[in-house]
Every structure is written in C-alpha cells, then in structure tokens.
C-alpha cells in the first residue's frame, strides 16, 4: 500500500509525457507535409538570432509594456519550473522536499524564496495581461479572427498560470515543516494567516492537494500546448533559428521557373534533351500554393509558432484601413488547415484523402491576398520571426501562374510589361524622351 502514491504518480507522469510525445510526433509529421527548403547556411548567425530574439526577447520589448510583462512571465515560468524537478523526484521516490537533503538550507531557502517572488510577479503580470485583453480590450485582441477558440485560448492560458502560481504558493504556505524552517517562505508566510484556524491535519491535506494539483496542472498544461497558441514557448526557438537572414525585400526566385525561362531564352537549348538526374523532382507539380502541402515546411513551422499576438495585424496598412487582410489570420488559417489535413491523414491510415477543400478560398480569400502591399511591416514586427508575406506571395503565384486569376488591372499591367517593357502602355523606344522634354 505504501508505494501506491509513488506508482500513481509515475503513471500520471508517464501518461502526461506520453501523450505529449504523441502530439509532438504529430506536429513534426504535419510540418513535414511542407516542401523542402534549404536553411543550413550561416549557422552562427542563426544561433545568434535565436539567442537574441527567442531567449533574449529582443523584439518583444519593442512594445515596452507588453514586452516587460512578457519577460517577467517568461523568466518566472522557466525558473519556477525548476521546482517541478523537485516535485517529480519527490513523487517518484516518495520523499518530501528532497531538495533539503541535497542542498544546504541556505541555498534551498534562497531558491524557493526566489521562486516565490517570481510566482508573485508572474501572477501580477498575468492579471495585467488579462485586464489588457478583457477590460481595456486592446484592439488587436478583438479583431474578427479572435473569436471563439482563439479568444478563449488566450484567456485559458492566463487562468492556467494564475492557478499554477496560486497552487505553488498555497503548497508552500500550508507546509508546516517548510514554514517552520523559516527560510525561503518570503511570500508564502504572508498567506499562512489565511489558514490560521486549520488544524495540522487539515493543513496537510491542503498541502498534499495543492502539491498534486500543481503537478497534474503542469502536465495538463504541457499537453494543452499542442492545441494552443502557447506552442510558441517551444517553437519560438527553432522558428527564430530558421528565420530568414536575407534582406526582407528579397523574394525567392523560383528555380522551376528559372529552368523554363532559360530554356525559352536559350536558342541552343535542346527541348528534347534528357533531363539531368534529379531534374525530375525539381519541377513541382504546380507553381505557387493553393494548399498547405504546397508551402514549405518553414512556413508551416511559422504557422504553429504564431502566438496570435496580432502585432503584425496592428501594423498592417491594409488592416489599418479596413481591408479584410490580416497577416495573423493568414497564419491562423494555415495552422487550422494543416491540422485539418493532419487529422484527415490520421483518419485514413496515413494517406491524405481528397476532402474537396484547400487553403485558398476555403480559408484565405482572394480579396485578402490582393490587399497586401508587400510592405513587410508584419515581418518586421513579429516577435518570433514569422513571415506571413511569403505565404501571401506563394498564393498569389498560384492565382496568377496556375489560374490566371489576377485582378484585371494587374493583367493589363503585366501585358504592358510583356509588350512594352513598362507597366504602362508606353513604347520602349520613348524611354529616353524625358531628356529633351
């Protein structure tokens, strides 16, 4: 009987970590639905970006209030989780506060004291976040894509954090032995009076409950990530590592098009020549993207990383002037469609079964795509190096090259370029006339 709680603990832990692992595998499988893209260059610059942007939060603090609060929650959350290590060891070995046996009292007290202070700061920051979302109602949290799940998700995460921090402090406050040590209880000692009249037995029950709820809560939170914008706490790292190193104005040149253009322009090219060994798989089935499988895996990773903070949308000139386009929605739609495709694959024994839907039209409309000015404001502002513009461009490519579905004025412009070498109907031979006007 005495090992019952250890076994129960091990089971819960296994379940939590196991389910999480399963979802991580699914996540990787979905990201790999995307096309290949080469990002193996400049490793040192990439590491630097990751350290600066993800670890150092350099872009978060560009908006100082949200930025500083976020840094508090982020640091607090990471550091307090060291405490989870102790909980796991205690749970598995049936010990109580194993840290006290491993560390000198002063050190242990200092650590727990620091956790308590951080827990308090996190709690306050999270409350302010909640107020910004729900009372002040910052515009970027109330755009049309932020209804239902995305809206609830944002709040659920905040509640989770409030509850976890509370449980941690209650657990310490009701731990009679810990309080008796009088070291590291810098915050929790102030909560003790709340339980003033409780007997030692009751306190013990409360302490045990808080302890169990804390660890179970953390495991639930871990598994909640996959369904939430909170996935960014993990994916921000690879995403900033793989983020583009090129000037933002540089759009990729499609190699498949280059091959065809070279053929067309080269009078010596033999159209019947045997293609080179790997040329076969270089020519994609189609130009541009109409669905998530046409995007590259980095764009799909971007979609899972998006925190739905809406900084991109708040900077977008199209969105600011009432157009339908919202770069955040582009990312959310991509993720939703990717999830849909993933579930389809799971339901059909690993094969995608045509479902008559696609990213284009069913999620992202042409009206949104054509409203983009390619100004890069969204890319510049994203705190985790997401590039919504690259998805917009890829979908425009599909519309134009596969469907000839550009707005008619753009077709005119392109016909002019083809015929006169200028977007307007002027003759190329008149190009230098300005000199004498």
């Amino acid at each position: 009987m005495e090992y019952l709680s250890n076994i129960l603990f091990a089971l819960i832990l296994l379940l939590g970590v196991g389910y999480f692992t399963r979802n991580v595998k699914r996540l990787i499988r979905n990201i790999n639905l995307g096309q290949a893209v080469d990002v193996n260059d400049n490793k040192s610059e990439r590491w630097r970006n990751m350290v600066m942007i993800a670890l150092g939060q350099s872009k978060m603090v560009r908006r100082p209030i949200a930025g500083v609060l976020h840094v508090v929650v982020y640091i607090g959350f990471i550091i307090i989780n060291i405490e989870v290590l102790e909980i796991i060891l205690d749970g598995l070995f049936g010990t109580h506060r194993i840290g006290l046996k491993l560390l000198p009292l002063g050190v242990y007290g200092f650590l727990i004291g620091a956790f308590e202070v951080l827990a308090c700061l996190v709690f306050v920051s999270v409350i302010i976040f909640w107020i910004r979302r729900n009372v002040i109602k910052l515009a970027r949290f109330w755009k049309s894509e932020m209804t239902n799940w995305p809206k609830n998700d944002g709040n659920i995460i905040l509640y989770f954090e409030m509850v976890l921090m509370t449980l941690f402090l209650v657990m310490n406050a009701t731990d009679v032995h810990f309080q008796a040590l009088n070291s590291g209880n810098i915050v929790s000692q102030n909560i003790v009076p709340l339980f003033g009249s409780a007997s030692e037995g009751t306190l013990h029950i409360i302490e045990r409950s808080a302890w169990w709820l804390h660890i179970v809560g953390i495991l639930i939170f871990l598994n909640y990530l996959y369904f939430s914008k909170h996935l960014h706490i993990l994916l921000a790292f690879p995403n900033t590592y793989y983020g583009s190193l090129k000037p933002k104005g540089a759009f990729n040149n499609l190699d498949s098009v280059t091959n065809e253009v070279k053929m067309m322009m080269d009078p010596d090219a033999d159209p019947f020549a045997v293609p080179a060994e790997d040329a076969e798989d270089e020519v994609p089935a189609k130009f541009g993207a109409s669905d998530v499988q046409d995007l590259n895996w980095l764009q799909l990773l971007n979609a899972y990383t998006c925190t739905e903070c809406g900084r991109c949308t708040s900077e977008c000139p199209a969105n600011q002037t009432g157009k339908k386009l919202s770069p955040r929605k582009i990312m959310m739609d991509t993720r939703d469609r990717m999830e849909e495709v993933g579930k389809n694959i799971d339901a059909n024994n690993g094969e995608f079964k045509e479902d008559g839907k696609q990213l284009l039209d069913d999620y992202i409309t042409k009206e949104e795509l054509w409203a983009c000015t390619s100004c890069n404001a969204c890319v510049e502002t994203c705190p985790v190096s997401i590039d919504p513009l690259s998805i917009i461009l890829e979908m425009r490519r599909y519309l134009v090259m596969e469907q000839s579905a550009a707005p008619s004025e753009l077709n005119n412009m392109m016909t002019n370029i083809e015929n006169n070498g200028a977007p307007w109907p002027y003759n190329q031979m008149d190009r230098l006339n300005w000199k004498n006007e």
Partner: protein, 263 residues
C-alpha cells in the same frame, strides 16, 4: 530651364571604348511618369554638377519585373530579369544607381540569383557619398529652417535597412527634420507597393495613402520628402485628398538638394 542635360547612354560610352563610373537605372516611373520625370531630371542635374561620369541604358532599359513578381507572375519577372541582366552584363556594368527603391531592391536582391551581380545604390545613398567625398556641396538655401518630414519607402527602409542616407541629406539642408508617428522600421506604407499602384484598392474604410498623409499632416510639415516615385504619387494624391496642396509640398530628396542649389 534652357540648359541642356548631359545624359549619355551606355551605347555611346561603348562606342568610345569607355566605361562610365556608374549606370543610372531610370526605371519605368522615372522614364514615363510626368511627376517622376522631374525627379529623374533633378537627379541628373546633380550628377552633371558633380561631374559624375554616368550613363543610362535609354531604350535598352526595360522594367525590372518588380510589379510582376509582387503580383505573383514569376515567369514574367524572370523573363524581364534575364533580359535586363543580359544587357547589363554585355556592357560589363559594375555599379548601378537608381531613384526607385523597387528597382533598387529587385536588382540588388533578386538579380544575383539569376546571374546579375552589381553594386546597387539608391540615389540618396549615392548623393550622400558625393557629399562625403566633397564632389557636391549643399547649403540650406531656400530650405533652411523649413519643417520637413521624410516618408520611408518600404522597399528602401524595412526591405533593405536604409534609413539614414535620406535623412542625412535633409539635415544637410539645415532644415528641421521632423518624424512622423510611424517612421523608420515602423514606417507606414504609402499603399503603392506589391503592385497596388496598378489596381484599385480592396474594399475598406480608407485608402492607405490618406492614412499615411494624415500621419504626416499631424506633425505639420511644410514639405513631405519622399525617396520613391510611387510614394511620391501616393503622398501627393493624399495631400490633395486632404485639400492641403497649397500648404504642403511633396518632393523627392533629390529635388530638395537640386532646388537648394538653384539647379
């Protein structure tokens, strides 16, 4: 103005067996748009004044393909790019200056992958280098003390991180440089990029250029300085829409420098 502009072509240089110091890529707007042609001429006057040996491609120049690429027509873009690169490489062009940030961005960032490798400068960077080298001097002249704000073109600023060259030129005019609420990397687009210039905007509650012009008017400038022919058009239209064309002028940085010299 009666003085004649010296605008030699690459073909003429070639005929004499010479290479110019730099190729001036005029761009479609700079060649055909009435407003932008004035910018082209102002820049040429400055090049002439500084005795820069430059050349243009003239009738051999063709659209860089930027609006086609941003529209999604990669075929047309690459056709244009490959054609232009053939011409540029045949003339062994090493250095290019242009007054259009779109041409600047495309040639600088998207041509190298297709075989076109050049040193590319925006005209504000080039003018700044002429000033730094003492080949051109500026006094404030008529712009001394004027309130001037600079509108960052997306394809110069965010796209290529060039924020200071145009501002330093404006400061040289001894003008009072004032910044809009959104400037430098936070600069708000004029609404023309991504081929928007060539189509009606999507349904919304405002035009982007009006929004941007309002930001500019908020800080009460006498002049809105631009560094892009398309921004110039958009901001000019915005100022007209706000009926402020008698109070606020929209001018390219090159025009400011040229006018300060009474060129």
């Amino acid at each position: 103005m009666s003085e004649v502009l010296k605008v030699p072509t690459m073909a003429e240089f070639m005929a004499q067996g010479k290479q110019p110091e730099v190729l001036f890529w005029v761009g479609c707007a700079g060649s055909f748009d009435d407003r932008a042609k004035k910018i082209t001429k102002a820049f040429v006057k400055l090049l002439n004044k500084a005795n820069v040996e430059f050349a243009v491609l003239g009738t051999e120049e063709s659209c860089t393909g930027d609006p086609a690429k941003r529209s999604g027509n990669e075929f047309l873009f690459q056709m244009q790019a490959v054609t232009n690169i053939e011409v540029l490489n045949a003339y062994e062009v090493k250095k290019i200056v242009t007054a259009c940030p779109h041409c600047f961005n495309t040639i600088k960032n998207e041509y190298p992958g297709l075989g076109g490798n050049y040193e590319v400068m925006h005209h504000t960077q080039f003018l700044k280098s002429l000033l730094d080298d003492g080949r051109l001097t500026v006094q404030g002249g008529q712009f001394k003390g004027k309130r001037i704000t600079f509108h960052d073109p997306c394809y110069l600023g965010r796209a290529n991180n060039v924020y200071e060259a145009p501002r330093e030129l404006i400061k040289k005019l001894e003008a009072e440089l004032v910044e809009m609420k959104n400037c430098r990397r936070n600069g708000l687009c004029c609404g023309a990029g991504g081929a928007q210039m060539f189509k009606e905007p999507e349904k919304g509650d405002k035009d982007v250029n009006v929004e941007r012009t309002e930001q500019a008017l908020d800080i009460k400038p006498e002049i809105i300085a631009a560094g892009c022919p398309f921004c110039n058009t958009m901001m000019t239209d915005g100022v007209k829409a706000k009926e402020k064309e008698n109070d606020v002028a929209v001018m390219d940085v090159a025009e400011l420098i040229a006018n300060a010299q009474d060129l």
